[in-house]
Each structure stands twice: as structure tokens, then as C-alpha cells.
Symmetry: D2
Subunit: 322 residues, 4 copies
């Protein structure tokens, strides 16, 4: 693989796949796969159980569930309802066993004004917010016995606020004392075929710009003081990534070609660092900061955000209709 | 006056005018007026100095400066620049004498999705945010020696967040420790002629739904722990208000009419509570929750928010261009 | 009634009510009322059959169906589906008997950037557009035998385009030759209780600023060359109207009061023109161009526009899901 | 070059560069370059004078002026004013010599809801529209003697309207009879370094999806009946393009490498069709319909659209302020 570690992905699933390609087992990492043919979904659970596993995976210890549902990118209302139900089911696993009268704070991360980054804010737009009602009138005001107190915030991004997202959330958590924090964020994938058709749920929190490994900024139980469930959907692929993928494919293609086999083997023999330099030279410096995204991203992000908020509403305010 | 106290206004200036109409002096309240004919602005300063004055005015102790500038509602770029400069000047009075290296948090209150309420969020959209840059690279990164650290938040409204705005801001202030808080909010005026052409600056903080007097929710130095400067622009008049105004005018008109004088005097003699009941009966219950706003409100709010953010940028990041 | 003819309403229903208040029959105008208690809807059909009737009603000859459905302003998805079905049913009456393979052009009038005026553009946003698909692949591409060709345009308002809306639509109709034109527009009502809970359907076309009676601008079969069905929802009341209503109520209230009866009778005796002058004096000149609208107008307009597009989709592309 | 003709570009400049790389002169095509060092702009004029030239360039006969201004992508107000002036100057060349009292229709093509495609609609948002005022009050109402009648339309895209853009524009042109049509559109570039920093002006009209060469849809003097000036800015690069570019760079790099030279020469020797197949195999089928765009595209498109409308306002309504 050319410079496998330099390619950014926020999906534990894709991190794992890179090892598989090399037929390597990672100690401390357990992977389970499940296919739901009827719903056309594939569920992969990656459990990073040790610090060594975390190091190898470049992701913190925790459980990462990935739902791959090609229909997520398509405007089929019934199918989206099914996904919302499935998603609610998996989220529930992370919630039990919590006390009955719990309260949840949902944070919609990202920049509302940059479409592929607006997933989090859009999810919050459609949530059933109840904390202020329950506090004012008691939970019977919601017409349900089991209602939880839901509050939500769209903190914005650092360029808009001048503050680390974790500073804002930490302050609000301390002041309003929710039992759990759910963060929603748009992710970067490595493979364009995962764009807008994959949802990752994790109890490991969120690490903005996690490739950089800046743990100071992480939004985790350690930094904010309450358990954190992260829900993410890859909406972009970094432009450099697709060039890199094509390169890998070229090298593979060369190996099986009579006339090019020699060169293919030479390239294959390169040290990752050498390959990385090669790709960097081949790609335009103008690609930096560019991302790849589908033409219909505006509609797609809206649709998926609606599906996620439906799942959260089913989970936290089952009696009310959204 | 029919039920003067039941009419909502967020402008200290309008509160004061009600007393003037009755030729009443309010102890503990000092009023200064100033006219800038060249700039076509009228500046009124209301100083509420005692708790008795505060009680009479139904506004907390503090200084309220009101700039009335008819041109604010008109798309004249040069004039808006002048207003921005004047506004920056008055804001500076509230800031001195603070220490040199201060940091400011700007909170844009209100609901971005309800146009007349979106003033605060729009102002934040155009601010020069610098806190993260100064923290990362030092203030020389801004190319200026005197730059302040500016951070900003759009907290949303309770229906969107489930939290009191003051909870969110208090949490963020505790976590990020700004020296001063500036809050921007859209206000309700009593008179439609003040809509979108008046700016009120105050050091008394903001009292959401202040007519109700819910001090628990106030955003003041007492509740958030740092000095608060509030900037407000009236963008709506409650629908009931304009009916009330017409009633008052009618009663006055009757008194000066031969045939109606008797009835006018009878009505005039009513106790405020009686008049209040009368107006309530006359107006449709459907008016509740309705407001009066001009047709071009979308454009107007954008323009004024831009003027206010220009004033803040001049004040807090004078070297950078917006 | 004070100056009944000066009050603007775009609803034939409200025009008719003014006559009823005076117990006047209008020759050439037939009115039918129907109540659907189960669906909590009231349907009023006003048929203006003669030019004399049109003159009296200040509306062109034609049929005007008004659906009053209080639930329209409320976020209840099931109820909105019911209204959509009922609306589709009434629209169908205007369509029969047309030829099988007809094509329809839908025009969403109004200004997308002024919320209460954005109804038309929003409806078009959610339509199933099929003309280009049917033309490219035949109607079987839509998976339905009876599919109609639906095209749509959001022409904008004169301040944005410099053109009369009818010029734009006429040009497009001539070029693309639809069999029928459906126009959607936000209306002004006279009564605030009708805001956002009333739908008017008419085959008389639309007369922008119809109170002014500028027939040059009308969008009718006569001006565009194909039959026109207009769908309108009142989203604003002019500010002056609510003052006027309160005045009328006051005069009525005075008549039943011991002490004020005299004055009430005096006012009642005024000629409409005198009353009109009185109201004009009582209301602020700043009210001109102001309108009354509910706080939640952004959400409400979105919801109703969605209901109307669902009705149109059911009617014109029954097989596809929206 | 790998499959040079399969790569989409809407810039005549980039079409020409492909020939230059092969050191080929194109008969019937004249190219002039000009550098304005002070303004940091490069101006290239491509004149396609013969049908043979048009065939070779895959662009219709006409003049194409390309302004490359790196500062266009940067938020510097003064620089944008300079670009607006320069742009107005070049546009003027296409206008002379027309009659004094001319009228212009501006069409903002593209989809307002897909950010990189919203350039045209955004430009129209900021135009000074005057046709309706001049028609109502005469040109003196604009306070200027030389004012032109400006009208504008945002026609939407075929998926939204069901109509070809040219059908809509042709209908409006026939109905309102402007002397000239200006169309604004977002383009696809071949090179990511040209994104958002290049403006192309042409008198050859616009050919939506021009790579496909579907002349039926073209918006040209031939199809709409009046002269057409097209203004375009590349805001996207097709995802496949950047992979292709990297491939070309790789092949070049291989040739100058000891160990890879052989393979490089082999690849270089491939027929374009063979190379095209190779690239197609190397890139993911999921890249189809994907485009590359910078992270800050929302802000950038707004800024550039503002610059273009300023240029048009200077040109067509010089006395009024925008």
C-alpha cells in the first residue's frame, strides 16, 4: 500500500481494512461482521480493547459499529424509516443500562454553511427537544411516562467561534449536567463508495481532525465528564485520497501486465515513505484542502440528517411524533 | 393612557416616553438627549441610578444609550459606515477603562430561522473571530499590536436547545474566561416608527422576555460573572400594540370632537385596568403571538446586522479588514 | 362597517362575508357551504357567474373554493395528509374533463426571500417534475401509464426580475405549450384567524395586487392562453386591517354600553368615507407596508407548502412517491 | 497525454493548452496573452475564427477572454473591486457598438441549492434591476441619463423545471425583447489550480454539458434570437480529472527514472484510447458524478458572484449604487 497511514479516514472499519489487505491480525482488536440481506445492510463491529490495539488502529479504545446501507443515499422514505429503526436499536446498546430518568445532550458538530459539514447541525434541527418542557411542567407534559430530557446545541466550528468545540461543550455539560452526550459529525472516508451510505456509531467519542491525533481537542468522557456516543456519516473523501487509490490500482495492474510487470514490482518494492513522496509529487499542490463530494450532496445530507434525528427521536421521545 | 404597563417594549427610551406623556419626573432616572443633525441621528441616554428608578422603569439599574437613525432602514452604504463608526464610539465608552489585553465573547441571541429574530446570529456571521489565532500564534499573527481576542457563539433559543440561553453562556464563560460579554438581540418596540432604525446599547445586560420580569433568565454580570454589554435593535412590534395605539388616538380624537367629546371623556376617565379589558375585548384572540413587521424585513435585518458587526470589528480588531 | 372596500383581502370568501354582514344578496353570485366535521374542515364555494357579480365582488367571474382547516397551521402529519387528499379532490374538479395525456406547468409565485411570500417557490421545491423524463424516455419511464408531464417555474417577483410575472409565464407557456397552468401564491387575508389555515382554489386566475385591480398584470386564461388554476393561502394580514377591525368592534361595543351608546351611534352614522378618514388619522403612517404575521411563520409556510405539493403530486404523478 | 479529449473542461484556455503541450498550432485559432503584473492578472484571448478551428477546439466559433486572477479566491475587498472594474472593461468590448437605449436580460444559470452551481443565481441576487422602473417612470427615475433597462431571471435546472433552460429563456426573450442576453454559469475546469480564480467571457453563448456537444440545448444567438454574452467561473473539477492528471504526471516521472523508464515509455507509447481504458479501470466507478471542490466553496462562490454583479452593475447602471 502506498503510504497507508497518511490517508485520512474517520471510519474504524476502513482502518481495519488496511490491515486485512496485508493479511495482518491486530492484537487487541476484535472484528465481527453481520449481513442483513433483507434490509440490504452490512453491520461491522470493531472492538478496540487494548492500548496496543488503539495504537495500531490509530483510534482510541472503544466499540465502533458501522452500518453500511447503500439505500441511505437514495430518496426512499420507507427504507429510511427502516434504517432509522435499526440505528435506534444499535444506539440503545450503548445506552443500557442507564437509569430511567436520564437526560441527554445532543451536539451537532460541523459548519452549517459548508454543505458536506452540515450534517450535525441539520440533525439537531429535527430533534424533539424536551428538557425545557419537562423542567417546566414535569414529564407528564410530554404525554409519556418514559420520556427523557433532550437538550441540544450547535456549537459551530473554531473559525466561527474562536473556541475549541470541546470548550463550548464542556462548559454546557458542567452547567446543565446531562447524563450522556451524543455528538453528531460529518466524517471523511477513504473510499468514495462509502460516501453518504455509511453510519458509524461509537462510544469512544469524537476526535476532530483525528488523523492529526490532537487529543487535546477530543470530545470524550475523559474531557467532558459524561459518557459520549458519537454518530458519524462520511460525506467527503479528501481529494488526495482518490489519487492515491488510483496509484495503488495502477501498481497492481502493472504487476499483471507482461510489459509493465517489472516497473510494477519496482514500485511495489518501494518503502511506504518513498511511495508517499511519489504521490505527493504527482498530485497538484492545489489539491490540498480540496475534497471529493457528489453533485447531489445538499439533498443527500438533508435526507440522512433527517433519518438520524428520527432514530434519536424514537429512542429519546418515543411517544411524540416528529 | 390605556394600560400603559401592559404594552411590551424593550427600549428604555420608550418606557421613559410613557412617563413624559403624563409629565411625570421619575426619581433616580436621568435622561439626556442629543441631536446630530449632520448625521441625522438622535442619541438619548437614560441612566437608571436607583432601585426605585429601576422599579418605575421596569428595567434594571444601568445606562441605556439609544441611537435613532432613520437611515438605518435604508440601503445606503456610506451612511451605514457612519452609523457603524458612531456605534463603535458609544460602545467604547462602556469598555473603558479595561486592561489592554482583554478578550471578548460575543453572543448572537435569537432564532436564525425566524427572520426578525435572526439579528444576533447574523451579526456573529460577520465578526472577525481571533481568539483561536491569537492563542495559537500570538497576537502578532493578526498583524496588529492592540488586537483583542474575539470569540463568538450563537446559542439558539430555548425551543431549539431545551436550555436557558443563560445556562449555555454561563457554561462557556466559565470555561473560556472572557473579560467581557457582548450580547446582540432583536427587540420588540412599542412604536412601529422605531422598527429597524434604532439601536440600544446598555450595560444592564439582557432580559429575555423582559416584560415578564423573569430575572432567573437574565444575562447580566450577576448571572454570568463578567460585565455584559447588550446591543439591541427593535425589529417587531407586537400586533396588540398597534391596536392599542389606535385606541389611544381615538380617545384623544373624540375629546376634541363636538359630538364625541362626552364619550371621549368617559373613556378617558376609565381606570387603566378597565381600558385594558376593553382593548382585550376589541382585539381578536388570534392576534396573540402575532407581530407586525415590514415587508422588506429579510433585507433590512441583514443590512443592520452587517452594520453592527462592522462596529464590533472596528472596535475589537481595528487592523484587519472585514 | 368602516370603509369596507378599502380593506384588502384576496379571499372571495371574505369579500362575500362583508355583504352578509349587511344582509345583502348579490345577484350573479352563488354561495354554497359544506362542513366536514370529521376532518374539521369547512368548504365554501363562491360562484361568480355574471359581470355584475364580479363588479360587486371585485373579483373576476369564476369559481372560488375555500377550504378552512384549522389543523393546517399545526404540525400533525396525518392531518396534513388528509388535507392533501381533500385538496387533490377539489383540484380534480377543475381539471375534468381534459384529455388523457395532458401536461401541466406549475408556477410558484412570490419572493423566496420574504418568508410569508415564499409559499409558491416552496411548493415547487417539492414537486415531482416529469416533463423532461417523459420527453426523453416516454411515459413508461415513470413506471405509470397515466402519468402527466409536469414542469415548473419559480419566476420571482418584479423587483427581482424587472419583468411582470405574466410576461415570464406567457413566454414559457408559448414555448413549452402546457395544457394547463397551475399558479401558487401567498395571499393577504382580512381576518387574522384565517392566516395559514385556509386554502383557496380558483379557476379565475391570479391578479397580483388584485385590490388595485390592475388587470394588465393578471395571470388568466385570457392573458396566458391556457386554462389557469390558482391555489392560494393567506399568510399575512395588512397591519392597517387589524386596527380597522378593532375600531369596528369598539363602535359595536359602544352601542351596547350605557354611557357610550351616544357616541357609538354617532360613529355608526358616519359615512364610510368619513370613517375611513378617521381610521387613517388614528393609525401611524409607519404602518404602511407593514404586515401582521405569526411568530412561527417560517415553519408554518414550509409545512403548508409541503401539503400542497403532496396534493399536486398525488394528482399529477400518482404512481411515484414524493 | 492520456485521453486528452475525454477530460471535460469548459475553458477554451484549457482546451488550447492541451494542444500547446503537443506543440501543435491550430489553424483558425488565434491566441493572445497579456499579463497585468500590477493587478496580478493574466488575460488570455482565444479567437476561434473558422469551423475547422471550432472542430479542433470542440468549442463554437467566437471570442473567449479568460481572466486569471489568483486573488479572486481571497477575501480582499479592494482587489475584488479592481477585478470588477477590469471585468466591466472586457464586457464592454463585447457590447460596443450597440444602440444607446439598449436593454439587457441577465440569466443566472445553475442550481441555487447546489453550492458550486449557485454562481449564476447568486449574481442575479445582487443585480440592480431597472426595467420595471424605467418602463413605469422613464429612465430619469433612475437619476441617470444613460441607464439601460436591466431584467433578470433565475431559470433553475432541468431537474427542477422539467424544461430545457433554453426553452425558458427563449420564451422570455420573445416576450420581453431585450437587445442582448447575458448568461452567467458555473463551469468545470480541468485544473484544480484554476478553481474560483478564473473568469471566462465569451460571445459564443453557453452550451450546457458542452462536452457532450448537444447543440440542441445551447443558449446562443442562433437559438434565442439575440446576441449572447456568457460569463463563467470554474467552481468544480470532475473527480476523474485529477486522477487522470496524476497518471500523466506519473508517466512523465517514470520516464526520467532509471528503473521505471522502460515502463514509462511503454505507457507513453499507448494509444490514447488504450490509456483511457487504463484510467477507467484504475478509478472507482463510484467517482462518476463526483466532483472536487474546495472546503470554503460556500464563501468563495458568494464572494465571486458579488464581484461579477458589481461589474454588471457598473456597466449597466453606473449611476446607482449597489
Amino acid at each position: 500500500m502506498i503510504e497507508k497511514y497518511s490517508i485520512r479516514t474517520d471510519l474504524a472499519l476502513e482502518q481495519k481494512e488496511r490491515f486485512e489487505a496485508d493479511h495482518v491480525e491486530i492484537p487487541g482488536v476484535i472484528v465481527e461482521e453481520e449481513e442483513d440481506e433483507e434490509k440490504e445492510m452490512k453491520i461491522t463491529t470493531v472492538r478496540i480493547e487494548t492500548e496496543n490495539g488503539a495504537k495500531a488502529m490509530k483510534k482510541p479504545v472503544g466499540t465502533y459499529i458501522t452500518m453500511e446501507a447503500p439505500g441511505l443515499a437514495v430518496p426512499d422514505e420507507d427504507y429510511h424509516r427502516e434504517i432509522a429503526e435499526t440505528l435506534a436499536g444499535y444506539l440503545k446498546q450503548f445506552l443500557t443500562p442507564r437509569k430511567k430518568d436520564s437526560s441527554v445532550l445532543v451536539a451537532g458538530l460541523g459548519n452549517r454553511k459548508v454543505t458536506p459539514d452540515a450534517l450535525g447541525p441539520y440533525v439537531v434541527d429535527h430533534l424533539n427537544i424536551s428538557r425545557h418542557i419537562v423542567r417546566e411542567y414535569g414529564k407528564y407534559a410530554m404525554g409519556e411516562e418514559k420520556v427523557q430530557m433532550v437538550s441540544a446545541i450547535v456549537p459551530g466550528v473554531m473559525g466561527q467561534t474562536g473556541m475549541e468545540t470541546v470548550e463550548i461543550i464542556k462548559g454546557i455539560v458542567k452547567e446543565t449536567r446531562p447524563d450522556i452526550l451524543v455528538v453528531i459529525d460529518a466524517l471523511a472516508a477513504r473510499s468514495s463508495r462509502r460516501l453518504n451510505r455509511t453510519i458509524q456509531i461509537s462510544d469512544a467519542g469524537i476526535h476532530p481532525g483525528s488523523g492529526v491525533g490532537n487529543h487535546r481537542c477530543g470530545i470524550t468522557e475523559a474531557t467532558v465528564g459524561v459518557p459520549v456516543i458519537a454518530i458519524g456519516v462520511p460525506t467527503v473523501v479528501e481529494a488526495a485520497t482518490i489519487v492515491n487509490d488510483a496509484m495503488e490500482n495502477l501498481i497492481r495492474a502493472m504487476e499483471s501486465s507482461e510489459t509493465l510487470k517489472g516497473a510494477g514490482l519496482v514500485l511495489q518494492g518501494y518503502h511506504p515513505a518513498e511511495k508517499y513522496e511519489l504521490v505527493k509529487e504527482l498530485t497538484s499542490p492545489h489539491l490540498h484542502g480540496m475534497f471529493v463530494t457528489p453533485k447531489d450532496i445538499d439533498e443527500t445530507v438533508k435526507r440522512i440528517s433527517y433519518t438520524i434525528s428520527e432514530a434519536l427521536n424514537q429512542l429519546f421521545s418515543p411517544g411524540t411524533c416528529s
